[in-house]
Amino acid sequence: MTIATSGHNRQLAERAHAIRRNALRMGEVQGQGYIAQALGISDVLAAAYFHAMTYRPEDPDWEGRDRFLLSNGHYAIALYAALIEAGIVPQDELETYGFDDSRLPMSGMASYTPGMEMSGGSLGLGLAIAVGRCLGLKRKGSDRHVYTLFSDGELDEGSVWEAIMSAAHFRLDNLIAVVDVNNQQADGPSTSVLGFEPLTEKLEAFGWFVRRVDGNDIEAVREAFDAAKAQSGSGKPSMIIADTLMGKGVPFLEAREKNHFIRVDAHEWQLALAALDERKPS
């Protein structure tokens, strides 16, 4: 590793730490939230917003931006945390998370939040919309990418597989999808609710470029985004399978019995922030 890349990785780690911090503070404001998922996906979001993507914080609808579609709308707490860190949403709005008339509702919706490109929540929508976005960008002659994040549980939805077939059929090499494999959905471990492995082989058979990485290894995630972007011209859509650890960065949450909606007691939010800050990258 060169000094330059090591410096860049450290900067990304600092961004990921800040995203986790924002998410925990929103969780504290509301007393609840999908905080374990947010902590798990923060490294991916840091690499997306501070390494891979092009955008203008002051102009979230700038035509020249890369698009980011959040399919799993309940991860909104994580995306808001990233949008705040990216300067797209003001820092002080964090205090409004989940409250009436906030621009930051519990589930992400396009009409509420700057930088939120779609209304998620009903799972399995994002990849289908992304196919249309990619077709539209190609039609316009744009070289921008469409990024979309969805969860392993969404692999249960037939519409996801319709879109997986379609993206390969239309040779959408401007599509970079990330599936968060934390192996947890509402009723239990995703692989036991409805098995989807071997996922890499399946997606490759469907005609995708696939990278499976430790989604909490920021260098690996960064390199996966680079490899996916390098697919431009190949005719292949890209899927980054990110194996993540729910609660990452806060040891007592990492160790907590895994639940889709993790329980955090009122006094624990400050403990979580303190635990996170102890591990702040130096």
Binding site: G132, R139, S166
Partner: protein
Amino acid sequence: MNHATRKAAPATATATAGKPRLTTSAMIASIAAEGQRTKPAPFGHALVALARENPAVVGMTADLGKYTDLHIFSQAFPERFYQMGMAEQLLFGAASGLAAEGFMPFATTYAVFASRRAYDFIHQTIAEENRNVKIVCALPGLTSGYGPSHQAAEDLALFRAMPNMVVIDPCDAHEIEQAVPVMAGHDGPVYMRLLRGQVPLVLDEYGYTFELGKAKMLRDGPDALIVSSGIMTMRALEAADLLRQDKVEVAVLHVPTIKPLDEATIVEAARKSGRPVIVAENHTVIGGLGEAVAGAVLRAGVAPAGFHQIGLPDAFLDAGALPTLHDRYGISAAAVAEQVKDWTGR
């Protein structure tokens, strides 16, 4: 036939001897009566004309291009046509994405698949996000003899209930041609029922012009007011001619836009004293034009001399030949005339 008795042994050949033997028509069969004036593929040709003017227009379908007249468009503009495969959820999700990038997708399939299979995708990715997608769907109501799999008896109820959605039920080729550019002029999602192939031509003789959200009186009469949409306006006009022979003069108010509903015009027509209001629709009597009109009239405090609905029953409809089924369910011209006579006491 009753749902529970369909599996009973069929009537013997002798019992049906002498009756005409009608068969279920092909999926692409026209609903036009023999000898009726028609126009071919009015939607396809109107879309081509629109696309020549508007470069944002693109066409999409879920393996039903030929069956929705979109093949006319795909032949004229192959580069602006997206074959999405037999995947309706993908079709509408991708349509939302294309609209978000500034295009105006016309997405076609059968009404059953849009309204029933892909409802959540339309609800969330198109209506909630208020994307400029035009949904155009063939086989509305009872226009297929294949049975409930292809009979969209409840599409208007479902799309009426969806916020942001404009809903159009056109009568004939003349109206479809006019509705296409009007839909494009509305910035937002629209659902239009489609008649395809050789489509009856009726409204041109009435000097009719389609306007979004406007009901139009096609003929007036003191004995009854028929409020109708879609092909039932054609049937109501035919029934009105039949009824005239019996000295019954009915008014026909055509309501092609189911949402937003032209409540003012409907209420004003219903207010005219002494005539019953009869709503005729190619749709289940639940949740469609009939209940929409009833609500508007009641809210306005108007009490007409009777209120009746002509429409499909709350049942899974039979398979069979369309003329048989339209008679059976009371939506043929003759059946409409009979019911009106009963209700007007003639």
